[in-house]
């Protein structure tokens, strides 16, 4: 197939292919069956796989996740959907205290995927725009992945489904239908824990993930004309994250900008910046800088949301400042 596949179609493809490959894989969540999913990710799945593998649940995130945990413990491979990832907070205890610690406490693997649309930029307001990765990256026992391309949306989801650990898969709703590419025909997996250089450069390194990868690339393009050569490193996985790739990029340029979508303070960017400061200190030619959203809930108003979010202009300005340091 030489046709281009959107990010959201890539997710559907991964789900379908894995459900066909392994009968233990099943999906549960709000409106996933009859409705086909709030964003139509599982459209047609009910007809194809039946209601024992595509399960509509009550509006009860804690219970949905808890059921998923229970199923995983008896050998199933559940894919729990959070209709909007913001709602995961209702099942927070199940994620961080049960799922994350189960193997540590009992030795029993708990293979499950919790996936859902995350991220802002669609005027979704505070409860339909969050990027909660920091909470879960800070929880040992979990894995957290954040695909930025259609290719990785498919590859990382497959990797997550096949992983024996609880994996949080945060797909970015802004990217759903906005990006597309041609995908390989054959079965492929994107390894968890590996970053990808999206743009090579030697002047400034931009360490980023998710929708911000695209904003960073746009910023880098706009600066190329000014003779500033920025590198864009797409982390793809946050827990674990590709330390070698980060160090390699930091050592090359000596000037690093960490760009993350969630609010700046105490966000994932702080982890990467601290790591670089510790491990690449002798290679730094400027302070490590972070860009994140403002320390407020996500605004509902479109113009306020634009001010709230990081974007190509803010990124370009920061890169330019670093380059001139």
């Amino acid at each position: 197939m030489a046709e281009q596949v959107t990010y959201i179609e890539a997710i559907s493809q991964a789900l379908r292919e894995e459900m066909k490959r392994d009968e233990h894989v099943f999906i549960l969540g709000e409106d996933v069956g009859i409705y086909g999913g709030a964003f139509k990710v599982t459209k047609g799945f009910l007809d194809e796989f039946g209601d024992e593998r595509i399960m509509d649940t009550p509006l009860a995130e804690s219970a949905i996740i808890g059921v998923g945990i229970g199923a995983a413990l008896v050998g199933m491979r559940p894919i729990v959907e959070m209709q909007f990832i913001d709602f995961i907070s209702s099942g927070f205890n199940q994620v961080v205290n049960v799922a994350a610690k189960y193997h540590y406490r009992t030795g029993t693997p708990l293979p499950m995927v919790i996936r859902g649309p995350s991220g802002a930029g669609v005027s979704g307001g505070p409860y339909h725009s969050q990027s909660p990765e920091a909470w879960f990256c800070h929880t040992p026992g979990l894995k957290v992945v954040v695909p930025a391309t259609a290719h990785d949306a498919k590859g990382l989801l497959k990797a997550a489904i096949r992983d024996p650990n609880p994996v949080l898969y945060f797909e970015h709703k802004y990217l759903y239908r906005r990006i597309k590419e041609v995908l390989p025909d054959e079965d492929f997996v994107t390894p968890i824990g590996e970053a990808a250089i999206r743009r090579e450069g030697a002047d400034v390194s931009i360490i980023t993930y998710g929708a911000m990868v695209w904003e960073s690339l746009a910023a880098a393009d706009s600066l190329a004309g000014e003779g500033i050569d920025a590198e864009v490193l797409d982390l793809r996985s946050l827990l674990p994250y590709d330390k070698e790739a980060i160090l390699g990029s930091a050592r090359k340029s000596g000037k690093v900008l960490v760009v993350t979508e969630p609010s700046l303070s105490y966000g994932p960017g702080a982890e990467f910046a601290a790591f670089i400061g510790e491990e690449a200190f002798e290679y730094l030619d400027a302070p490590v800088r972070r860009i994140g959203a403002l320390d407020t809930p996500v605004p509902y108003s479109t113009s306020l949301e634009k001010e709230y979010l990081p974007g190509r202009e803010k990124i370009a300005a920061a890169v330019k400042e670093l380059a001139g340091y």
Binding site: G254, F281, E282, Y283, L284, D285, A286, G324, Y325
Partner: protein, 427 residues
């Protein structure tokens, strides 16, 4: 905005009015509570009126000499002078006249001191001179590649030396090292940038190499220079007599250097340790004598061609060699062989008129001889007569690691003897 009015006080039960006799304070003055601010006189007594509040006198409403009823406002006191400005706007029109006096208080800087200090204490740090602010990677590279950061230009913020500046410096240094090898290379034209009162000249490769060599030599050898006076009259007279004929017959001149070089070579044979080099804790004494001759080129750079096996040459042979090498040096036709392998160097600084010198040793040799200008001087001869003689000073610099004062001194002394006792039979 707190304002207090000063009113004409009642000084007695039956006193209905008072006269402002004298203002003790002027608008803008700082007032303490109860401090006297004016004198009033009534038909019974003269008295001072204290201020009802602390603050600043911002407005005098009643002038000296005016009589008003008890209770009439005489002046206004405000908490701060800034407030007085606002009060001024708010003052009714009839007070405009007096308001004009008031602009002075606005100029008073005192209230500014009350403002809080810088809101962001973190930024109270004095700025650092960025030219000497070296980041970790810059220090690391400087250490690794043995770079003196003082000699690296900074292109970063505030003149900071950046990683790129260091990389550029290394590239250039590498380029210089590679260009240093070939002899008689094209001397680069220095680039000149005119900048008002100063001129910036980029160093040519030759200049850079010379600079590096000189400083390295000074840091390597323990330089000591001692001087000898030499009566060159016998040599001078001979040369004067034969120089034109010599030139005609040979096609090259008979220079003092040729004769001096010959005597240097002979003296070296008696003092072999001065014809040596150092290698760690070993002294390598050379049994061949290659004399380096310092030559100044047209662009004021220095090159030192070498007379190989000078001890094989007669004075005439030396004269020819000197002429040939100098000629090729000035025409940039020297080969690598021509500038390598010197074991002892002579520099004729006297060519430029100086009588003494402190020449720098050409590494890895251990000595260099400077010859000063030959001048006619009144000299003591034959005991206690005075005659006019041709006098030259020798300045021998030697490396005190290898050559002690006595050895160097004796070398000089012997050379002097040979020169002073010279006669034409040595041709």
């Amino acid at each position: 905005m707190a304002q207090t009015k000063v009113i004409m006080p009642q000084m007695g039960e039956s006193v209905a009015e008072g006269t402002v006799a004298k203002w003790l304070k002027q608008p803008g003055d700082k007032i303490e509570k109860d401090e006297n601010i004016l004198e009033i006189s009534t038909d019974k007594i003269d008295v001072e009126v204290p201020s009802p509040a602390a603050g600043y006198l911002i407005d005098i409403l009643i002038e000296e000499g005016q009589t008003v009823e008890v209770g009439t406002p005489l002046a206004v006191i405000a908490d701060s002078v800034d407030e007085s400005a606002a009060a001024k706007q708010a003052a009714p029109p009839k007070k405009e006249k007096k308001a004009e006096k008031a602009p002075e208080p606005e100029a008073a800087p005192k209230p500014v001191e009350e403002k809080p200090k810088a809101e962001k204490p973190a930024k109270a740090d004095e700025p650092v001179d960025k030219r000497k602010f070296y980041t970790p990677v810059v220090l690391r590279m400087a250490t690794k590649h043995d770079i003196d950061l003082d000699s690296v230009d900074g292109s970063g913020m505030g003149g900071r030396v950046t990683k790129k500046d260091v990389l550029r410096f290394l590239e250039e240094r590498k380029g210089r090292a590679e260009a240093a090898a070939p002899a008689g290379e094209r001397a680069e034209m220095p680039a000149m940038v005119l900048d008002g009162s100063e001129e910036i000249i980029t160093m040519s490769n030759v200049r850079k190499r010379t600079a590096e060599h000189m400083i390295r030599s000074k840091q390597t050898s323990a330089h000591v220079t001692s001087m000898q006076e030499v009566d060159m009259t016998p040599i001078a007279r001979y040369r004067e007599a034969v120089k034109d004929e010599f030139r005609k017959q040979n096609g090259f001149p008979l220079t003092y250097m040729a004769i001096i070089t010959k005597e240097v070579v002979e003296t070296i044979k008696e003092f072999p340790n001065i014809n040596a080099s150092v290698d760690g804790d070993k002294i390598i004494v050379k049994h061949y004598i290659n004399i380096g001759m310092a030559v100044a080129l047209a662009d004021d750079t220095l090159i030192v061609p070498v007379i190989k096996n000078a001890d094989d040459l007669s004075i005439r042979g030396l004269a020819r060699a000197i002429y040939d090498l100098a000629h090729r040096a000035r025409n940039r036709k020297l080969t690598m062989d021509d500038i390598e392998g010197a074991t002892f160097t002579i520099t004729n600084h006297g060519l430029f008129g100086s009588v003494f010198g402190t020449p720098i040793i050409s590494q890895p040799q251990v000595a260099i001889l400077g010859t000063g200008a030959i001048r006619k001087r009144p000299w003591v001869v034959g005991g206690d007569s005075i005659a006019i003689r041709d006098i030259m000073f020798l300045s021998l610099t030697y490396d005190h690691r290898i050559v002690d004062g006595s050895y160097g001194g004796r070398f000089s002394q012997r050379l002097t003897e040979r020169l002073e006792s010279w006669d034409p039979s040595r041709m």
